[in-house]
């Protein structure tokens, strides 16, 4: 294969989404034959930078130089035609189409300019699949429908799909998440080949040992800014973590929290909870305790909360208030005074076009008799809205008229109305302004004093550190570490969020 030549330089990229500044000053450069790792904690802006490079989003400010020339991509296709492709996590596969059809969709080899040359397509697919021979099941054939494949093989198809375009620059965005160690090894062999062919590779990952295996340089983002670009040979894991985290400052605890009352009852106990994305999670929460769950996004935190709430099936034992329970529907969990504040308030927590009142009372209308005593419902809703200091024109205004922070108050409010004894929070302060966050923290403190057990997943590390005595860090559907006391530092949090110093071998059944 002929050697290609490419150089890409992203300089001082700024990107705003509405009111949120995702990237304040992102820079990255990569050249032929280089593998640059892009690192950063939650909210660092690394996925935004990668989207700018591939043309999925357009930057507000800053420059993108391709082979020395400034470029502006109008669409992902524009970037693709210039040789830039990204591999995400199986976003773009059509489930009912075969491996070959998916890989070559839109650029199939043609016969007589009209008909797809199936032989050629299958042959070429075979060649691509051979690159991973020995690391996949024999059943991974070109004519197999993608929906029949396990996640790791689907990820490999995504990789091959990008490769089929013969790109000059490949971005692997968390592309190793579903792969087992043999497949990762093979992928890295291929990366080596690509380097020799003159391709450039950007490797976005949170797995330290992989970064140290495959990358030449590392670019670190923190809070939307590039804070350093070092050669891998000249640095170590700890230094990278420090760069991601900042100086080792003592994070002031947001609130003084009373320790959990001695002898407080265990409200929830989980033993070996497993589901599609969970692999044997065990934990316990006591009354008045605020147990934090941390880790990078997508490691199973959401599914853990959903399983407890009865939204997804699971195996394992769950004990609530001393009784063994297994909820099959959120209704059952609600009947036992469990509440879940979901992660995506727009699509899971709110009825946007309905009124604030209806949103607040959705789980609770049964209490108001028949016909519904609207006055009582209004009074109760008004009271909780006042308690939360919800800024509103009227309870009848539609929920979508509220700002992010206030909208989140409605989602929380509807559960507070039910005085839950176990409160599950799925990243509740995402996209919420600072002032509302503070109010929320005060609320949590008050709930703790009243004896509510709280299980709190947050993608904001500072928040976890400030509020919780104990934090369970999740990684790949398991609890990778339990941090408390002196161990509960930012550096430790970040370090245990990544698979530091541990050989991760996913098993296949």
């Amino acid at each position: 294969m002929a050697k290609t030549n490419i150089s890409l330089s992203a300089q001082h990229i700024v990107k705003r989404y509405g009111g949120v500044l995702a990237l304040a000053d992102g820079s990255l450069a990569v050249e032929s034959g280089e593998v640059v790792a892009l690192l950063g904690a939650n909210g660092s802006g690394k996925s935004t930078l990668s989207k700018v490079i591939t043309g999925v989003v357009a930057p507000n400010k800053g420059e993108l130089l391709l082979d020395g020339q400034p470029v502006a991509f109008a669409s992902p296709q524009a970037a693709q035609s210039l040789g830039i492709t990204a591999v995400y996590q199986e976003l773009s596969l059509i489930p009912d189409m075969t491996v070959a059809e998916n890989i070559w969709l839109g650029h199939q080899p043609m016969k007589w300019r009209l008909v797809v040359d199936k032989q050629e397509m299958l042959a070429k697919t075979g060649e691509l699949l051979d690159l991973f021979a020995g690391t996949v099941q024999a059943s991974l054939q070109p004519e197999v429908p993608v929906s029949a494949l396990p996640p790791d093989e689907r990820q490999i198809v995504e990789i091959l799909k990008a490769l089929s375009l013969d790109p000059r620059l490949i971005i692997l965005d968390e592309a190793t998440a579903s792969l087992d160690s043999r497949q990762v090894g093979r992928l890295f062999d291929l990366v080596g080949d690509w380097q020799e062919q003159g391709k450039a590779i950007i490797f976005v990952s949170h797995r330290m040992e992989e970064i140290f295996r495959v990358a030449d340089r590392a670019v670190v983002l923190r809070n939307g800014r590039s804070v350093g670009s070092t050669s891998i040979g000249e640095t170590g894991e700890q230094e990278l973590v420090n760069m991601m985290v900042g100086e080792a400052t003592v994070v002031p605890r947001q609130l003084t929290h009373d320790p959990v009352a001695a002898g407080a009852a265990v409200r929830l106990k989980l033993e070996e909870i497993s589901a599609e994305t969970l692999h044997g999670v065990s934990l316990s929460v006591r009354d008045g305790e605020l147990l934090g769950i941390g880790g990078l996004q997508g490691q199973g935190q959401t599914d853990l909360l959903r399983a407890i709430f009865g939204d997804i099936p699971f195996t394992g034992e769950m004990t609530l208030s001393g009784d063994v329970v297994h909820f099959g529907h959120p209704r059952q969990a609600m009947a036992r005074d469990v509440a879940l504040v979901p992660g995506d308030r727009g699509s899971e927590g709110l009825l946007l076009i309905r009124s604030i009142l209806e949103n607040l009372q959705l789980p609770s209308w049964q209490r108001y008799g028949f016909p519904l005593e609207m006055e009582a419902a209004r009074a109760d809703a008004g009271r909780v809205a006042d308690d939360l200091r919800l800024v509103r024109s009227s309870l009848d205004a539609p929920a979508r008229s509220l700002s992010g922070g206030n909208a989140q108050k409605v989602v929380i409010g509807k559960w507070l109305l039910r005085a839950p004894r176990l409160l599950l929070l799925n990243d509740p302060t995402k996209g919420v302004d600072v002032h509302t966050k503070r109010e929320f923290y005060n609320l949590l403190a008050e709930l703790r004093r009243e004896g509510t057990a709280i299980l709190f997943y947050s993608s904001d590390d500072e928040e976890l550190l400030g509020l919780c005595d104990r934090v369970l860090v999740m990684l790949d559907g398991r609890i990778s570490a339990e941090l408390s006391g002196d161990n509960l530092t930012h550096a430790q949090l970040v370090a245990t969020s990544m698979s530091t110093g541990r050989a991760e071998a996913q098993d296949h059944s």
């Binding site: 939204d311 899971e348 309905r354 016909p371 519904l372």
Partner: protein, 318 residues
């Protein structure tokens, strides 16, 4: 959801104004059209459509591409059963009504089971069920429309009752109040709106979505049967396609009334105004002596225009 939002007036109000406008337009086309008797007549005709479209309103409000295409057939079935069972005797009317309602509810229940538990798309399920009901009608009647309408039905439904206004209009308004009560003052109603807006949020708030869907289709069948019973009081006879002409207008009335096809927002008041609008359009077209062909085309075109204004879905580019 719609590209531009119409000014502060709510859709039912707009529809009502449109109806009034059409009424006076009729006066321009046909001098003498505008008078109290004609107005009462229009409302009377609209009442039947309105009652039949009540169930359709609930089904569409519940979202999930909900639609009930079996309503026409259920109307016919109910009318035929009532016709046969009351045999022209007043004492048998309650029985006839009960059986008709039960039949409609049962058909609706089957629709609900198919949609909620077998996950059959509502379009397909209710269309198929319509065929079954039509087959049932043939099997039951064997082509012979036996029966008679009890005098009490005619007297309290279609004949002038109070101030020249026939009973069906009062019944319509009582029904409207009951439906308002159901939608706005019961847990079911709140949950119906909930699943219409967002089924995930509803489930995560404890709503048993399949149950709500089941109840909704059952009610739709029940209300369609009630409409058929009322219609019998008006036509005083039954024939094979009694309810058919009401199916399309039932969907159109709901859309005219401003209820989103995707569900979650709307009211029965809107459907009532929509029923008025559609009845007026049909009357005007008849007054203009246009053939049925033209009427069909106009209705189709109107619905098409309405969906373009009210009901566009999100684009792929986000």
């Amino acid at each position: 959801m719609s590209r531009f939002s119409l000014p502060k007036l709510s859709p039912p109000l707009i529809a009502l104004l449109l109806a009034v406008g059409l009424f006076f337009l009729g006066g321009l086309i046909r001098p003498g059209f505008v008078n109290a008797t004609q107005a009462i007549n229009i409302v009377r005709l609209a009442a039947f459509l309105g009652i039949i479209a009540a169930g359709q309103t609930l089904v569409i409000l519940g979202g999930g591409e909900g639609i009930d295409l079996s309503i026409g057939a259920v109307v016919t079935l109910a009318a035929i059963l009532a016709f046969r069972l009351n045999e022209g005797q007043n004492e048998l009317v309650p029985l006839a009504l009960a059986v008709a309602l039960a039949a409609g509810a049962f058909i609706g229940l089957l629709n609900g089971l198919g949609v909620a538990f077998l996950k059959i798309p509502p379009l397909v399920m209710t269309l198929g069920m319509a065929g079954v009901v039509q087959g049932l009608i043939l099997a039951i009647t064997q082509g012979e429309m036996i029966g008679d309408t009890a005098p009490v039905m005619g007297r309290y439904i279609s004949a002038p009752l109070v101030l020249g206004i026939p009973g069906v209009v009062f019944i319509w308004f009582i029904l409207a109040l009951l439906i308002w009560l159901l939608l706005e003052r019961t847990t079911y109603g709140k949950q119906l709106f909930g699943i219409g807006v967002n089924r995930v949020t509803a489930r995560l708030s404890g709503v048993r979505v399949p149950l709500v869907v089941l109840v909704t289709y059952t009610l739709s069948g029940l209300l369609a049967a009630f409409g058929g019973f009322m219609l019998l009081g008006f036509t005083q006879t039954v024939f094979m396609n009694l309810g058919g002409p009401y199916l399309f207008p039932s969907v159109a009335a709901v859309v005219v009334g401003g209820t989103a096809l995707s569900g979650g927002k709307g009211s029965y008041w809107g459907t009532m105004a929509g029923a008025l609008v559609l009845t007026l359009i049909t009357s005007l077209l008849t007054a203009m002596q246009l053939p049925e062909a033209f009427r069909q085309m106009t209705l189709g075109a109107i619905l098409l225009i309405l969906i373009s204004v009210y009901g566009r879905q999100r684009g792929l580019r986000q």
